[in-house]
């Protein structure tokens, strides 16, 4: 189904209404100017959690609403429109999906309700370098006293500064590049031997590098099956990546709309600049690109909800397309605003900065084109 259900329409409208009334871009600016290392504002996140958006993909039995991925996509798109900063992708999608899909009873019981009501924040710790490479996991987890000891590092962990717990992809066997031997672990942020350091990125959100110095966990920290975590990880990454694409769509859509609004107010040569055919063409091209991108994101999220066989393919399609369209829309946003778009006082900078960070997150376009090619046998 490519259209939203009534329930999803209601969710979108309430998200849109809330964002408009309570989360202007100025609120993000204030957070940025304050230099908050967590990269979001507690009050904003509390309000978001209060509306239940932290529990959208979490089963009802564990305190969520179980509305699904298409629904969280709807929310993320609306938040993206105003670059609202909240740890939803890392926590309410990434960590929540890992536990919901592969967690033990105890893990679910201990963490999902808290993630669902926003009292705990989770994060995915997967990559170990500056580009998304889930096939290259090397962080070592060696058996120790009935459990494991983890040594190594993770980089650029989204929401890593605020996280109370991490879902860590580690290697219990084989070597980087092997399909087997990957294990997911649930690890409280306070675990002994685990330290984090902030990575300040252009979008002013909270990223961290993690260092594991012989961090000991029990066997009960394993999410899913030891040594066979790759399939689970792929599923979690598909869900998280699709969520990123939804936020990108919101950014791109708003970049476009803000630009169109400007074209309808800025006068040069005695006319609105929107009346110049050269600019009308540019707007039309961008609009077309947006229309082509939106259904790919919808389809990926929908496929996840339906547990369709082609989820991975559709997610790569959605992310590659969203990457490209948000890159394009944010470039145009600056260009068509002229000098004012170059200023920090204008919002355009926030859009391009968030856009470039999300483009690299969980795979850039080249990564997803390559993955798509592999999946379709090209």
């Amino acid at each position: 189904m490519s259209l939203l259900t009534d329930e999803q329409v209601m969710l979108r409208d309430s998200a849109r209404g809330w964002v408009k009334a309570n989360a202007p871009v100025g609120a993000f600016r204030k957070m940025r100017d304050g230099g908050n290392p967590k990269g979001f504002d507690d009050a904003t996140f509390k309000a978001i959690a209060g509306m239940g958006w932290t529990g959208v993909v979490i089963p009802e039995a564990h305190g969520g609403s179980e509305f699904g991925y298409r629904s969280i996509g709807v929310v993320l798109e609306e938040l993206g429109r105003n670059v609202v900063a909240a740890p939803l992708i890392g926590s309410a999608v990434g960590a929540a999906s890992a536990l919901a899909l592969g967690g033990t009873k105890a893990q679910k019981r201990d963490w999902l309700p808290k993630i669902a009501d926003g009292t705990a924040i989770g994060a995915l710790a997967v990559d170990e370098g500056p580009r998304h490479a889930p096939d290259r996991i090397a962080l070592a987890a060696t058996p120790k006293g009935g459990g494991y000891a983890l040594s190594g590092g993770k980089t650029f962990v989204m929401e890593g500064m605020a996280a109370d717990m991490f879902v860590v992809a580690a290697r219990t066997g084989g070597k980087a590049g092997d399909g087997t031997g990957v294990t997911l672990f649930l690890m409280p942020a306070g675990a002994r031997g685990l330290s984090r350091k902030r990575r300040e990125l252009m979008d002013s959100r909270g990223y961290a590098d993690l260092t594991f110095g012989d961090v000991e966990v029990g066997a009960d920290a394993v999410i899913g099956k030891a040594g066979e975590g790759k399939a689970l990880l792929d599923k979690v990454l598909d869900r998280t990546t699709a969520a990123v694409a939804a936020e990108q769509m919101g950014l791109a859509q708003q970049a476009f709309e803000t630009t169109i609004d400007y074209m309808k107010t800025r006068v040069q040569f005695g006319q609105l600049i929107g009346s110049f055919q050269a600019l009308q063409h540019r707007a039309a091209y961008l609009f077309t690109a947006l229309q082509l991108a939106r259904p790919t994101i919808d389809a990926a999220l929908q496929a996840i909800d339906e547990d369709a066989p082609d989820v991975s393919e559709l997610v790569s399609l959605a992310k590659a397309t969203a990457n490209d369209v948000v890159n394009y829309a944010t470039r145009e946003m600056i260009q068509l605003h002229g000098g004012i778009g170059m200023t920090d006082a204008h919002d355009a900078g926030f859009y391009i900065k968030r856009a470039r960070v999300l483009e690299a997150a969980f795979g850039n376009s080249a990564y997803h084109r390559e993955r798509y090619a592999r999946l379709i046998g090209a």
């Binding site: 580009r131 470039r331 600056i334 200023t343 006082a345 391009i352």
Partner: protein
């Protein structure tokens, strides 16, 4: 030109190039080589100290900051091709011309053509000696692409003009000593009511308010003029005939944009080399990401085309034709290709290309500089003529 004199000419220029390279090698202080990154950044990281002063003085004495200007105004008195060779030689030696800015690249050449004897004498020598910095007071809040819609007015008050109004996006105005300014001297005619005025930034009534950009820097400001008294002799050319002069200056500006130092900020190695280092190579030594590899090569081919086009422009200049509409084409192409390079660079760096704040153990200086340049160069398609 017959082919013999041409060969002769080429030989002579090649010899001159060797001479220029040798002089720069011998005189460019070793310590400034490591300061290159700083120099290419904006003013706050401008190099300072005795070696910088020494280099400036040597270039000044040689007249090579403005190699093509007449010697009487502190220039090198060289022919256009020779002057180009000198400027290129700075880069080829890993050095730089210490006399940059709008005085040398824009105002100077314009004054040489349109200034009167008194104005040339007063201003050109100080520019060529690097003693004075100029800024460009063209754009206004309501006059960007439609520059001729400018409203800052200058009224004739007998012995002076009284200037009131506002300029915006005035690059370098925080540090500038003087401003070449377009003012409205006749409200009845759009293009024929504009005059070209030189304003001392220290005159009472001039106020500069910096604007921060998306790169985090403040390269430009708003400049407010409130009852600013400007001596009559600061009018360049005829009253109400400033538009022609303004346009001529814009040609020099586009020309200068083609050799903008800021384009060299950040990681300046060839993209394929950077990509091999960051992305790695496959077993045949090719950049490991085949999709990225194709796009890098496409960019490098485009850049090569640009260089060939620029060579053609140079040959035209040599044949006696000044900056033409070709400079606009080159400026547009250069801007687009440069922005593409920076988009590719931050992709090659991966998340290392997304850093903010100061360089340190997480982000290298070249990475941070590249990221900042990525943002500041988004302006290349906006200033000196949007594209």
């Amino acid at each position: 030109m017959d082919s013999l004199t041409e060969v002769d000419d080429t030989r002579r220029l090649a010899a001159f190039r060797d001479e220029a390279l040798a002089w720069i090698e011998a005189n460019f202080p070793e310590s400034l080589k490591t300061k290159l990154e700083e120099y290419f950044q904006n003013m706050p990281r401008y190099p300072d100290g005795p070696d910088w002063a020494l280099w400036k003085q040597r270039v000044r004495d040689k007249g090579w900051g403005t190699p093509g200007w007449p010697k009487e105004f502190g220039g090198g008195g060289l022919s256009t091709p020779e002057a180009r060779i000198v400027l290129q030689a700075f880069t080829d030696c890993g050095a730089f011309n210490p006399m940059t800015g709008m005085g040398t690249s824009m105002l100077g050449p314009t004054l040489l053509e349109h200034g009167n004897a008194e104005q040339k004498k007063q201003h050109l020598t100080r520019v060529s000696r690097g003693e004075v910095r100029w800024c460009q007071g063209y754009s206004e809040p309501g006059a960007g692409s439609d520059l001729a819609g400018l409203q800052t007015k200058a009224e004739d008050k007998g012995d002076h003009y009284l200037v009131n109004g506002q300029k915006i996006w005035t690059s370098g105005s925080r540090f500038a000593d003087w401003c070449f300014c377009l003012v409205r001297t006749d409200p009845r005619s759009k293009h024929d009511g504009i005059s070209f005025l030189l304003i001392d930034m220290k005159t009472p009534g001039v106020e500069v308010r910096p604007i921060r950009t998306i790169s985090g820097e403040s390269p430009f400001s708003e400049v407010f003029f409130t009852d600013v008294k400007v001596p009559k002799e600061n009018l360049v050319g005829k009253l109400n005939k400033g538009w022609t002069i303004a346009k001529r200056l814009l040609q020099f500006e586009r020309n200068a944009t083609n050799t903008n130092r800021r384009q060299l900020a950040g990681d300046t190695r060839p993209l394929n080399e950077i990509a091999r280092a960051y992305v790695g190579v496959d077993d045949q030594g090719r950049i490991a990401d085949p999709d990225l590899r194709q796009r890098i090569v496409r960019h490098m081919m485009e850049f090569r085309s640009l260089r060939l086009m620029q060579q053609r422009m140079l040959d035209e200049t040599k044949a006696g034709q000044g900056p033409s509409e070709f400079t606009s084409v080159a400026k547009n192409a250069r801007a687009r290709i440069q922005q593409e390079r920076e988009e590719l660079l931050i992709e090659i760096f991966g998340q290392q290309g997304l850093g903010w704040g100061a360089a340190g153990d997480q982000f290298k200086q070249t990475e941070i500089d590249t990221t900042r340049a990525f943002f500041s160069n988004k302006a290349m398609t906006i200033f000196s003529g949007t594209t």
